[in-house]
Point group: C2
């Protein structure tokens, strides 16, 4: 059975000059994969008529479905819609329902309506209009020579609404899709090539329709098994056998067998144990608490944090001793241990995480170069510390510190 293939085309100079990072394509690929539809090409082009025409034709040659985002907002370059008309040999007409939606939206907000907002209701005559419940530019569904094309706005939450409400259900109904099943094991503590070495025999015997991918993500390594097959249940069952065999080869380094963030892994564990957590952060500036609270429902186990960038705040909020800071410095085992004890007292939680480090680009010394970080995690009964030397840029150092610290607490809770 042939795979159903998709090309994603993103239109807009903002993606080509690097001012905007394309998060839409990743979301779309995940949603399509869940239906067994394979994204095999993603192409980003500018607001240029010839490029749009050529790319539409080329992608339709190699794909069953062509999804297009961008180029449709009220200040867009007025190129995408006329070019779609040219490609599909049709003309722009007014879409009454969209017009009423736009008028209503502006009236209900008490805003004057502009000519360019009304132009959002002009659509190519041959398309099926998809109502955009989160904005003014509608989606447009075309068919030509057996291929499906959908044009959507580039604003992520508008695109997601159109995909979820219309495009995905339509594709699921109309196409006979193969099953594509992914199962991801997240590991920690062993480098990519060493993990691969332990999986040499396992990988060698994988059948051709099951693939293993290594995806490093900060200090973690994701091992993703993907299986293709005609039947979803049979494919999932077969994948499950291989997945558990792989997991059994890596008992010492497995973190979770779901593709979730370390914040979610830790949250699930705390929920299971009925325990609470807080953080005392210096160098991470709130990144750990941000990731913990990114999880809906985290208020059941997370109570709060003391972000203590200044030394005076380490003393005032967490009771770190002036003598400790003087003798060992803010980036030291002694300081993070006092921060941890102080956080447990202040926040009245079962567990806490404390971190202090030098994230760069400045602030390093010969004894404590940029990238030096001390982490303490634990409870009143059991504390552990670890020191890392990170070698990346400021953003990455902060994010790796946060991942290391959360994983360290996870290990302590499970130990």
């Amino acid at each position: 059975m042939g795979k159903i293939t998709t090309s994603i085309i993103t239109i807009g100079d903002e993606l080509l000059i690097g001012q905007t990072i394309d998060t839409n394509s990743a979301w779309m690929a995940q949603a399509l994969n869940a239906l067994g539809i394979w994204v095999h090409r993603r192409v980003a082009i500018g607001d240029v008529r010839e490029d749009i025409l050529t790319t539409l034709a080329k992608e339709a040659e190699v794909s069953d479905i062509v999804l297009i985002t961008g180029g449709l907002g009220p200040t867009a370059d007025d190129i995408t819609k006329p070019t779609l008309c040219e490609y599909f040999q049709t003309k722009l007409v007014q879409h009454e329902e969209t017009l009423q939606r736009v008028l209503h939206l502006f009236e209900s907000r008490g805003l004057p309506i502009l000519e360019r907002n009304l132009e959002q209701a002009m659509v190519p005559e041959s398309c099926t209009v998809i109502i955009n419940e989160r904005g003014t530019a509608p989606g447009m569904w075309f068919e030509k020579d057996g291929k499906i094309y959908v044009s959507m706005p580039g604003v992520p939450h508008e695109m997601k609404g159109i995909m979820e409400n219309y495009v995905l259900p339509q594709l699921a109904t109309r196409l006979k899709t193969p099953a594509v099943i992914h199962h991801t094991l997240i590991t920690s503590g062993l480098g990519e090539s060493f993990v691969a070495e332990r999986l040499v025999d396992f990988e060698a015997k994988l059948p051709p329709h099951i693939r293993l991918a290594y995806l490093p993500s900060y200090s973690l390594l994701k091992l993703r098994l993907t299986a293709f097959g005609a039947d979803k249940v049979a494919t999932a069952a077969e994948l499950s056998i291989y997945f558990h065999e792989m997991k059994d080869l890596l008992p010492d380094i497995a973190v979770t067998d779901q593709d979730i963030s370390i914040g979610e892994v830790l949250g699930k564990l705390l929920k299971e144990e009925g325990k609470t957590i807080g953080t005392a952060e210096s160098c991470t500036g709130g990144q750990i608490s941000t990731w913990i609270t990114a999880i809906p429902g985290s208020s059941s186990y997370y109570k709060g944090s003391a972000i203590v960038y200044a030394n005076e705040m380490k003393m005032k909020l967490l009771g770190v001793k002036a003598e400790t800071l003087r003798a060992h410095g803010a980036v030291s085992e002694a300081t993070v241990l006092e921060m941890l004890a102080g956080a447990l007292d202040l926040l009245e939680t079962d567990y806490a995480i404390a971190v202090s480090g030098i994230m760069g680009p400045d602030g390093g010394t010969p004894e404590k170069p940029v990238g030096t970080v001390w982490i303490a995690v634990g409870s009143r009964e059991k504390m552990t510390t670890i020191k890392h030397h990170l070698r990346y840029d400021r953003d990455r150092n902060i994010q790796m510190t946060a991942v290391y610290a959360m994983n360290e607490l996870r290990k302590l809770i499970l130990a």
Copy 2:
């Protein structure tokens, strides 16, 4: 003068199934634009021999430079390098310097070396090898029929090292590039279409080599002017005149004329004023402090934060009264005002930001639906509050709240 055009090809299934978001392309585009090189196409493909061969040929047809990332790590699918050999009609040979680097790297870390690590030293014979100072897979520079091709690993900090140390300087030396100058004005408080309406006459008289793009970013709107020309100084001078004319049309909504984050805008302002800041965050869970401390040198104006997710922490750390919480609830003007006053006392700063809201997906009530957020910003002398109703998902609601709150403090400081 013709533009020098580049295609970026990313190889790897992880970008096609949506498990990894492509941040490399944006960074590469920015770096190339600064040299006057235009990225006009970005293509993502899987680890598939035929797709790699076809895409290399197609992109070389329409671009002067083809940059390739991914497919080179020690656990990569062993497809990229043999396929590059096939395309460039050459064979793999051992590269002595890379071999020594890999051996040295493993020895210095006391790690055993594996066959797959040694394979990193095998390179196509016809390429110029680019040493990768941050990893084991080297970069490879090819030339064919007047086109330049560079293959690099997909790990962001390794790719960046190779680009900065070799590729960008080489391209700058060898190509006669046109000048491309961007200048971005960030605005706040007026929707995209209303800003466009105010700029109708301005846009109409822009010459063809200067373009205006509207780039919404959370609650802010970026207006980016781009100019192309033969001479860098003359182009920059011409752009500057238009930029200031545009800025003068939007005095009430201009935030900054640099393309920087709201955290950096606020940081610069605090530094200029010699003032300090702290935050009291409930619903944002540390996002505001994370963005403030993302800026190097923020320790000169940022002292710390109280992240008070639990009501008991609002009372204990910030002195919010039980009576206030009972009468008005945690998401109320009265609560955020007490949080603000408490933060100023606790953190001993000149300014503070306090936020409390319901970010979703759960926790809403008929009077306070999901998306309701109260913000208070100010100093001991002057405080202001604002209420927002956000309509997005949890992540976006958190990030928009953080942007709104920081911008509100910016306005108060400047008022």
